[in-house]
């Protein structure tokens, strides 16, 4: 680890050039999209919208052209996703396929797997979810118990995943599953691409505290998978999963979750903020600028083939603090109680993000996990 790895990395002009087109598309596509739905951001699910993005070439765009991608640079992809998130576009349907499953299949998949999944991902038509957490394995991921046993040339899976975002509306899950008996907890884990239409799978949505249904319990009961459902190397699942963490922890979705509220806040405050409003809004903008630069610096590291796991944890933790602080501070700036029915756009967005904010430091590694990683990187553990 090193703070010096945060090198200032401008987005190259050819990637920057995409921005105007994306903005124009979004201005049109979202022109009647309500503020409170923009607050949903990458939890907003709209299959049709994902297909439209696919048609524009903006899903899986960094994948090779032979698999349907655009061979775009990581910075070009960055421009697209940050514009989508800043506008509050509903990107959830293809989000996990674009961020994780696509690159993982490209990296570890067989030719058949690539053929089956990558072009459809790039069209914005094949949606993935990620099966990681289990009821007794939250932060302690290595303790998962879902198990696949070999039967002839098949795998038979039993167990349960939980908090699986979008399982109820995805086509596939990439699941981390125990395949070995090894005593070291991180060993003996493998990843499978599970077709969620197969028999033996029960998906039960979990209502969150706002009443919305984003995540699920998923039960596997004697689920039979073909041999080629495994992705990557049997027993190497832990390594495959942790290798993608830097991607998962440093993107713009790690600090833009509350930007819809910054927008309605500025509208609510008006053109002449008082001393308190001006200070807090300016301070948020400064931190936003800096977090984005840090995130871009990690992107540059990833593009260079490095593994900036420590730096990504720094971005994720600072970003989550930022996202969580916005609703907390916003409620101090306008005398306007939050509302879930009725009330102004700002009152509704405030209510929604106030309630969602606690989850921002849970997903993608809890605050405790991240700070532990940062401390270890400093040599403290």
């Amino acid at each position: 680890m090193s703070i010096d790895q945060f090198k200032y990395s401008r987005i190259p002009p050819e990637a920057e050039a995409l921005r105007a087109e994306v903005r124009a598309f979004l201005a049109e596509a979202l022109k009647d999209y309500p503020a409170v739905r923009r607050a949903d951001s990458w939890m907003g699910f709209d299959a049709e919208f994902s297909r439209r993005l696919g048609a524009k070439g903006w899903v899986g765009m960094a994948l090779p052209k032979r698999h349907g991608g655009g061979e775009a640079s990581p910075f070009a992809r960055y421009v697209v996703i940050e514009e989508l998130l800043a506008a509050g576009a509903p990107v959830s349907a293809h989000w996990f396929a674009d961020r994780q499953s696509g690159p993982q299949i490209l990296h570890y998949g067989t030719d058949a797997q690539k053929e089956r999944h990558l072009p459809a991902i790039c069209r914005g038509e094949q949606f993935f979810c990620i099966g990681m957490s289990e009821p007794n394995s939250g932060s302690d991921l290595a303790s998962i118990k879902t198990r696949a046993r070999r039967e002839g040339d098949k795998w038979v899976v039993n167990g349960q995943k939980v908090w699986t975002t979008n399982a109820h509306r995805s086509h596939y899950m990439i699941a981390l599953v125990r395949t070995g008996e090894n005593s070291k907890r991180q060993e003996g884990l493998s990843q499978f691409i599970i077709d969620l239409s197969l028999p033996g799978i029960t998906i039960r949505p979990i209502k969150d505290l706002t009443g919305a249904e984003h995540f699920n319990e998923v039960f596997f009961d004697e689920l039979v998978l073909d041999a080629d459902a495994i992705i990557g190397t049997e027993g190497q699942g832990w390594g495959q999963v942790t290798a993608e963490l830097a991607f998962e922890r440093s993107g713009p979705e790690r600090f833009l979750s509350s930007i819809a509220l910054l927008h309605t806040l500025i509208d609510a405050v008006g053109r002449s903020p008082d001393a308190l409003q001006a200070k807090e809004i300016g301070r948020f903008a400064a931190r936003l600028v800096t977090l984005r630069n840090m995130s871009l610096a990690v992107t540059a590291q990833l593009a260079a083939g490095n593994n900036p796991a420590w730096e990504a944890s720094v971005v994720k933790d600072l970003g989550a603090v930022f996202e969580q602080e916005i609703p907390e501070v916003a409620q101090l700036l306008c005398e306007l109680p939050p509302t879930v029915q009725g009330g102004s756009d700002h009152a509704q967005v405030l209510a929604y993000l106030t309630q969602m904010a606690p989850s921002f430091s849970l997903r993608g590694g809890t605050r405790e996990i991240l700070r532990g990683i940062i401390a270890r990187g400093l040599g403290l553990r």
């Binding site: 957490s133 007794n136 939250g138 932060s139 302690d140 303790s143 939980v162 908090w163 979990i206 209502k207 969150d208 505290l209 009443g211 308190l276 969580q324 907390e328 409620q331 101090l332 700036l333 005398e335 306007l336 109680p337 939050p338 509302t339 879930v340 029915q341 009725g342 009330g343 209510a351 106030t354 309630q355 606690p358 989850s359 430091s361 849970l362 809890t366 605050r367 405790e368 700070r371």
Partner: protein, 351 residues
């Protein structure tokens, strides 16, 4: 009287105010039986003088009742009804039986014996029969208004509690009286702030208990998460702020009598509003994903904390009022104000 109140209310609430009952109300139902039971217990009239048919209790007597209302997520305008009847009594008007709330914000004016204007953020406005407000006019007046005469614009807070706007057009109040000179025109906002401070204190007692229990039970990395120092310290901070809220609410109620003790009430709402955010944040961080589900009861309380802190004046609103008063009085007035519990310079200019 305090102990008697506390124990009877605790018994009543723990029998009737279950999580299912609260959720049913959040769905939009008015809990007729629960209201009837609470009203039958007499608490809506607790602060009404005995001469006017009430229990003649002091504010200090009922602090525990309000804390318990917070602890149990009571989905009723009991705090509002108590405050409304107190103000009616203080104004020499008869108390009201039946559903009752207060209007602390808005544009109500009393002119020629009729009230016109909007009452904003009226708790349970759509469900109650009566609303008490202080209407502007030649002189501020306490008015009792029938809600059936109002147009209702429905609004709901993060706890799915109605906070409606009621629009009145030349409505003759059911009763009215001049606001007593000892009371300020913002008496209902101040009183509401005091109520919410106590409710927040009670709610924080609930989330503290839930977080402590959960941390002792949930196992990760082979031991209860409560044995991790980071979790311990977060819960300790939650406990500190819960204690500060309880203390400041108790002080505000204890110092209030015929008039509300402005400085202690402001302090209570400021401390409670700050504690609400901290407490809800820690409780959710400790509970992790499970606490984020609709099925788990944690959100019943945290969603209330997130709204109550903003109601009847946010931290900022009251802090700015207090800060302006202190700066206006000069630095030498700070400490005497703290020890006296009264901001002399402010009392002169505020009303």
């Amino acid at each position: 009287m305090r102990d008697l109140f506390d124990s009877s209310v605790e018994r009543l609430f723990s029998d009737l105010v279950t999580a299912d009952a609260v959720l049913a109300c959040e769905g939009g139902e008015w809990p007729t039986e629960l209201w009837t039971a609470v009203e039958a217990s007499g608490f809506t009239l607790a602060l009404v003088p005995e001469s006017l048919g009430g229990a003649g209790a002091t504010w200090a007597d009922v602090c525990g009742v309000l804390r318990l209302a917070g602890r149990f997520n009571l989905p009723l305008p009991l705090p509002e009804a108590m405050l409304a009847n107190w103000l009616l009594g203080a104004s020499g008007l008869a108390a009201v039986l039946g559903t009752l709330s207060v209007a602390a914000r808005g544009t109500l004016r009393l002119e020629n014996g009729r009230v016109t204007g909007a009452a904003v953020d009226v708790p349970w406005g759509r469900h109650v029969r009566h609303v008490v407000a202080v209407a502007a006019g030649a002189a501020p007046a306490v008015v009792l208004l029938p809600t059936e005469a109002a147009t209702v614009v429905r609004t709901v807070n993060t706890a799915a509690e109605p906070r409606d706007t009621l629009k009145f057009e030349a409505v003759v109040p059911l009763a009215s009286a001049a606001l007593p000179t000892a009371l300020s025109a913002d008496v209902l906002k101040l009183g509401g702030a005091m109520m919410r401070a106590a409710q927040i204190a009670g709610a924080l007692e609930t989330v503290l208990a839930m977080a402590t229990t959960y941390a002792g039970e949930r196992v990760q990395f082979g031991k209860p998460i409560g044995s991790f120092q980071a979790i311990q310290h977060q819960i300790a901070v939650l406990a500190e702020h819960a204690a500060a809220s309880v203390m400041s609410a108790e002080a505000a109620f204890a110092e209030s009598d015929d008039r509300l003790a402005r400085l202690p009430v402001m302090a209570a709402k400021i401390c409670a509003s700050e504690a609400a955010g901290i407490g809800a944040g820690v409780a959710h961080a400790v509970h992790g994903a499970i606490g984020f589900t609709h099925e788990h009861a944690l959100h019943l309380t945290t969603r209330r904390l997130w709204s109550w802190r903003s109601e009847f004046g946010s931290l900022t609103d009251w802090s700015q009022q207090l800060g302006r008063a202190l700066c206006g009085a000069g630095s030498q007035a700070l400490w005497p104000s703290v020890t006296a519990g009264v901001l002399a310079a402010y009392e002169e200019t505020a009303a």
